[in-house]
């Protein structure tokens, strides 16, 4: 069944194919880093061998916050954000709103890092939020997340780039649906082995067809997130608020209407948090206090979804009386359709609505999307083995396809080696760059060999298997200690690395199914790359 005429089909296929070729590897970088970033919290805990406290918000924060509030300038008490990092260190940021040196709206104030357990001030930094030094415990998970969100390019270029990648994927899904005339009929046809071209086509189409709904959702939500910050917010602010982005944000988020400068005693934050934990069954992941010290001060406790719910929930408390004001929608001060849809974008994209289970499912979906992207590129190469674009891509695909994961293992290596005594922030970044550089060099060496993919896969496998060993060697705890201390997530990441690495090593030796079947039929064939 053809949805469009032949001329349109040709145009759509051209766009689908060429956008894939020109931007496919770039899209792959965004997708694969996103896949890894789903587990950024777990990776963060793994990189430091487990958080030092499992319930950071159940520590006696109230006394420390009160004490610190007296040490900062009064204007910085307008907003306080409180959240733990991977090691359980609590970050407390007293801030107000300003415009930074780059001319962009930014939070400005004083940030404290509180040691888990003792709540001693481990660090104090002052300045604009985007310019504060990175917190070293989170260097690896932060690096991976920012790589995915903006490719570490300066704002707003990075967001434009990832937004563009998302749009390419979105349109590839739409054009794919229109172009694939036998989508339902082909759903149960495994990739055929009769020819290499047919096999490549089948692999791409089968993976693409099954992952269609999620390909669409992930691309749409991702594009939304990138462009919302880069274009959406500024433009809507220009039209509806005369360019005042701060006012727009306040309206969107739903800052309370009444403002009172009258000073008041603040209620006990610890008891508020304890009540919220009892009410939701989970620790908050984030606490924000507005107008500390004033009569209209409020605390917003943000809880990730639990039970049947998909959306996160924000619980509001009056800081003067300690009274519970109920749940606040993500946007606005009353429930609305817009707020509900917005609230779904996060869970749909990040997959964190059902804890580890949904995260692992989302990692699988991300791997499927990466597979669709790479097999699409392989198909292009297969159709044009003698054209320059085919030859260049032929080597570029394994170089980037395996190179980025190798770079990520380099980043982890850089973190692990520098965390004990060096600078893990730059160590992580350099590790990534060295890992990618190694992949490029390797591509240059392997360019004439037919088994580039197999060698790359073996290298990736080795790197993945090495990581848990390096973690142990650089002072990380062993499995019995980890399980005893309740850090099973570290063991899980170790196991995933070991299993993935062994799987990659095994596959790299297996060779090519098509070549085997061709040889089985009595045809001679040279060594061919494994997929």
């Amino acid at each position: 069944m053809s949805l469009v005429n032949q001329a349109t089909s040709k145009r759509l296929l051209a766009v689908h194919g060429w956008s894939g070729v020109l931007l496919g590897l770039f899209l792959y970088v965004v997708v694969i880093t996103g896949t890894v970033a789903v587990l950024s919290q777990e990776i963060g805990a793994w990189s430091i061998s487990g958080a030092k406290t499992q319930a950071p918000f159940s520590q006696p924060l109230d006394a420390r916050i009160r004490q610190l509030a007296q040490t900062v300038e009064p204007k910085y008490r307008e907003d306080i954000t409180i959240y733990p990092n991977a090691s359980g260190t609590i970050l407390v940021f007293f801030h107000t709103h300003g415009v930074n040196s780059a001319g962009k709206p930014d939070d400005v104030g004083v940030r404290f890092l509180l040691e888990p357990g003792t709540l001693k001030v481990a660090a104090r930094d002052e300045g604009y939020g985007s310019e504060l030094p990175e917190d070293r415990d989170s260097a690896l998970d932060y690096f991976i997340s920012i790589l995915h969100i903006s490719l570490h390019a300066p704002d707003p270029v990075g967001l434009y780039l990832t937004g563009l990648a998302g749009f390419v994927m979105l349109f590839a899904v739409i054009s794919g649906i229109i172009l694939h005339r036998h989508l339902i009929k082909d759903l149960f046809v495994a990739p055929r082995l009769s020819s290499r071209l047919l096999n490549r086509r089948d692999r791409h189409i089968l993976a693409g067809s099954w992952s269609l709904p999620f390909g669409f959702l992930l691309a749409f939500t991702g594009t939304f997130f990138s462009f919302a910050g880069a274009i959406g917010l500024p433009i809507v602010a220009m039209v509806a608020f005369g360019g005042d982005q701060e006012k727009m944000t306040e309206t969107l988020v739903g800052a309370p209407a009444t403002v009172s400068e009258r000073p008041a005693d603040m209620a006990n934050l610890d008891s508020m948090i304890a009540r919220s934990v009892a009410r939701t069954g989970t620790q908050p992941s984030f606490v924000s206090i507005a107008h500390w010290g004033a009569a209209d001060s409020r605390a917003y406790l943000y809880h990730l979804p639990s039970g049947r719910a998909v959306e996160a929930s924000t619980h509001v408390y009056d800081m003067a009386s300690g009274r519970y004001h109920g749940v606040k929608p993500d946007l606005g001060t009353r429930p609305s359709f817009g707020s509900t849809v917005y609230a779904w974008m996060g869970p749909l994209h990040f997959g964190h609505f059902a804890g580890l289970l949904s995260k692992l499912i989302w990692v699988s979906l991300g791997l499927a999307a990466s597979y669709v992207t790479l097999t699409g590129l392989r198909l292009w190469v297969e159709r044009r083995p003698d054209m320059p674009s085919g030859r260049v891509l032929g080597v570029a695909i394994p170089m980037v396809g395996y190179g980025v994961p190798i770079g990520l293992t380099g980043a982890a290596l850089g973190f692990l080696l520098n965390y004990p005594a060096g600078d893990p922030v730059s160590g992580t970044a350099f590790g990534f760059v060295w890992g990618c550089a190694f992949a490029v060099l390797l591509a240059g060496v392997l360019i004439r060999r037919g088994d580039a993919s197999a060698v790359f896969m073996a290298v990736l496998g080795l790197a993945m298997v090495a990581l848990p060993l390096v973690r142990l060697a650089t002072g990380g705890q062993g499995w019995p200690d980890l399980v005893g201390a309740g850090h099973a997530v570290v063991v899980m990441i170790d196991l995933m690395l070991l299993a993935g690495g062994v799987f990659a090593l095994h596959r790299s030796r297996r060779g090519d199914a098509i070549a085997r079947s061709a040889r089985g039929d009595g045809q001679a064939s040279a060594a061919v790359p494994a997929e």
Partner: protein
């Protein structure tokens, strides 16, 4: 039943339905020249209905978290099951 067990049950039922659809798919049988002399009876519509029913049930029960997880899990599992080249039955 807990959200987790509802999710597991729904995914298992849908996966079984997908496997049934797999074994009764005519194009797959034809393309791989599989021996279907002792084939299962073909009830395509019933197969698809059973594949989707657990998801609809989760929605009806208001188990949105389990429903989303089911959508994702069955997508990946179905693809993995279908993508295996069938053994040569000539």
């Amino acid at each position: 039943m807990s959200t987790l067990s509802l999710f597991a049950a729904a995914t298992a039922i849908s996966l079984l339905a997908v496997i049934y659809l797999l074994y009764t798919d005519t194009k797959r049988t034809r393309v791989f020249r599989l021996n279907r002399a002792r084939a299962l009876p073909r009830y395509r519509r019933a197969g698809w209905a059973i594949a989707f029913a657990p998801g609809a049930a989760l929605l009806g029960l208001g188990e949105l978290s389990a429903f989303l997880a089911w959508c994702g899990a069955i997508t990946v599992l179905a693809w993995l099951v279908v993508a295996r080249t069938p053994a040569d039955n000539r």
